[in-house]
């Protein structure tokens, strides 16, 4: 047991895990977080708290984690390299661990050009892989980047993200291998729409034996409209949405229902895929749909550990 988090236990028992996302508010009001925590409790094993996602200023992920933990919900804090150098990253990791946070997702972070502070100076002292390796060294050896050894190292379960749909496709498996080598315990993938392509990536992952070394949570994203699908296909770099999915959304009489149905179908397929140990439901700005999807996809009830 590395950190003893709920998520870690689910994996250890060989169960199919479920994670979801809670986006912190663009304000100092903790209410939306509490609200979502109460609503989603019991529908997933842990919840990602995004770190100023798409470089938009939000309530900090560590503070958000603390707030939802008060409601008895387990957080996964996202930590990007965009806004913090190695001093701040290590310090925040110690702080988060001290507050009781057990899951950390290491990310490079979206470039500030996409957010609401385009003039910001970014940091990028590390990228996600370096971050993983540094955090891994800190938790296992208690050793900082600079070499100093600390007492009471943080006990954390380390995750990362990977996008099988970004170029060069043929190297995406190798990149996951680097993340595993750097110390990742689990990985959440980018939202999957092209199952064939994902399957191909999984083939590579399995061929490298990575599915035995890291727990893969396949990303799914319920869509509300055909427009959203088209937007993701055309405007979001590193996202592949096949035309047949857009067509399906376009033809649907109730696109919202269709989006839910599609998402549930995808989860059904992913559940059967060898090496996939769970799903990560990214209901962006549609958090209240998670319980229904979890239910319809037969993911309930979630296990609980004493």
């Amino acid at each position: 047991m590395k950190a003893g988090s709920n998520l870690e236990k689910v994996f250890d028992q060989g169960l199919f895990a479920v994670t979801a996302e809670i986006g912190p508010p663009q304000s100092a009001n903790p209410e939306p977080l509490t609200h979502h925590a109460k609503m989603l409790k019991g529908y997933a094993d842990a919840f990602n708290l995004t770190d100023n996602q798409t470089a938009v200023v939000r309530l900090s992920s560590i503070a958000s984690a603390f707030i939802i933990m008060r409601e008895g919900v387990e957080p996964v804090i996202q930590m990007t390299c965009r806004d913090r150098n190695r001093i701040a990253l290590q310090s925040d990791l110690l702080g988060a661990a001290a507050l009781g946070v057990k899951n950390v997702l290491c990310l490079t972070g979206d470039h500030q050009i996409f957010g609401n502070e385009k003039g910001a100076k970014n940091v990028f002292d590390f990228d996600s892989i370096t971050e993983l390796s540094v955090f891994n060294q800190l938790r296992t050896e208690g050793k900082q980047v600079g070499g100093q050894v600390i007492k009471d190292p943080p006990k954390v379960y380390l995750g990362c993200a990977e996008n099988p749909f970004a170029t060069p496709y043929e190297w995406r498996g190798a990149r996951l291998a680097k993340k595993v080598a750097a110390g990742a315990d689990f990985v959440q993938t980018q939202a999957i729409f092209d199952m064939g392509m994902f399957e191909k990536w999984m083939d590579d992952v399995r061929a490298r034996g990575l599915d035995k070394k890291v727990h893969i949570l396949a990303g799914v994203l319920p869509m509300k409209t055909a427009g959203a699908a088209r937007y993701m296909k055309n405007k979001v770099p590193g996202m592949i949405v096949p035309d047949h999915i857009i067509d399906r959304m376009k033809k649907a009489s109730d696109p919202k229902e269709e989006g839910i149905k599609l998402c549930v179908e995808q989860i059904e397929v992913l559940k059967t895929m060898k090496g996939v140990h769970g799903v990560h439901i990214m209901a962006v700005a549609w958090e209240d749909i998670v319980p229904r999807i979890a239910k319809e996809a037969g993911l309930l009830p979630r296990p609980s550990f004493k």
Binding site: I113, S133, A166, R175, K178
Partner: protein, 234 residues
């Protein structure tokens, strides 16, 4: 070379507006080559300001000249009288040139006519792109001759991020993804093993973040008794 571009004329006009005698100094090195601050641009900037003055019935005198390398004291010294005779100097060199003049003549006001951009190369006539950030610790022998520090928007060291889209960067789809390019290059050279290892945290102290840098070649420095005139006294 250093790549720069002219500041918008209105900004230049606003800077020099309160002054009567303006000396505009260009440079025949990098900024001439990147078409920003050679003799032609110097003369055109001065002329454009005069056109504006004609429109607004303002009277300003412009002196235009160009030095071989504005970042070196000896070349600047050659036009000293023109600098001292002016109310203000508008430097059409990179910021190094402007700072050289400013440091040499501390009582003089020196304005930058250019925005100094980056260390880059001409890709084709009229197109320049950044290829180096001067980090002080070159690693391109490990990355197929392509610098990820300068050419990746996030200076990633371990391969392309999830925004690499058809080989292009998510930040600007007109720009190639540096890591995609590195991957293709190393694949071609059959050296992909180079990027399979996790890179250790980069030591940025060799770069600007370690404080202002000075490189010294002791064997090239002049000894005290080799110096002439005033320099010898200091």
């Amino acid at each position: 070379m250093i790549v720069a571009k002219r500041k918008p004329m209105n900004e230049i006009a606003e800077m020099v507006a309160p002054y009567k005698n303006i000396t505009v100094i260009g440079c025949r090195s990098c900024v001439a080559i990147c078409l920003a601050g050679g003799e032609k641009e110097v003369k055109m900037a001065a002329s454009a300001l005069k056109v504006k003055n004609r429109k607004e019935h303002r009277d300003q005198q412009f002196e235009t000249l160009v030095v071989e390398r504005q970042c070196e004291k000896e070349w600047v010294k050659e036009v000293e009288d023109k600098i001292l005779g002016a109310d203000v100097v508008l430097s059409m060199a990179c910021s190094l040139g402007a700072q050289t003049i400013a440091d040499m003549y501390p009582e003089k006001t020196v304005f930058p006519g250019l925005n100094t951009g980056f260390l880059g190369v001409p890709e084709e006539q009229g197109v320049w792109s950044e290829k180096c950030v001067g980090c002080g610790d070159c690693i391109i022998h490990l990355t197929g001759g392509i610098c990820p520090v300068a050419r990746c928007a996030k200076s990633m060291m371990n391969g392309p991020c999830g925004g690499s889209s058809n080989g292009h960067c998510e930040v600007n789809l007109d720009i190639e993804c540096a890591w995609y390019a590195i991957h293709e290059r190393l694949k071609l050279q059959k050296r992909l093993d180079l990027i399979e290892k996790v890179m250790p945290p980069k030591d940025w102290s060799t770069g600007h973040y370690g404080g202002r840098r000075t490189y010294v070649r002791e064997d090239a420095r002049l000894k005290q008794h080799q110096k002439k005139g005033k320099e010898a006294v200091q």
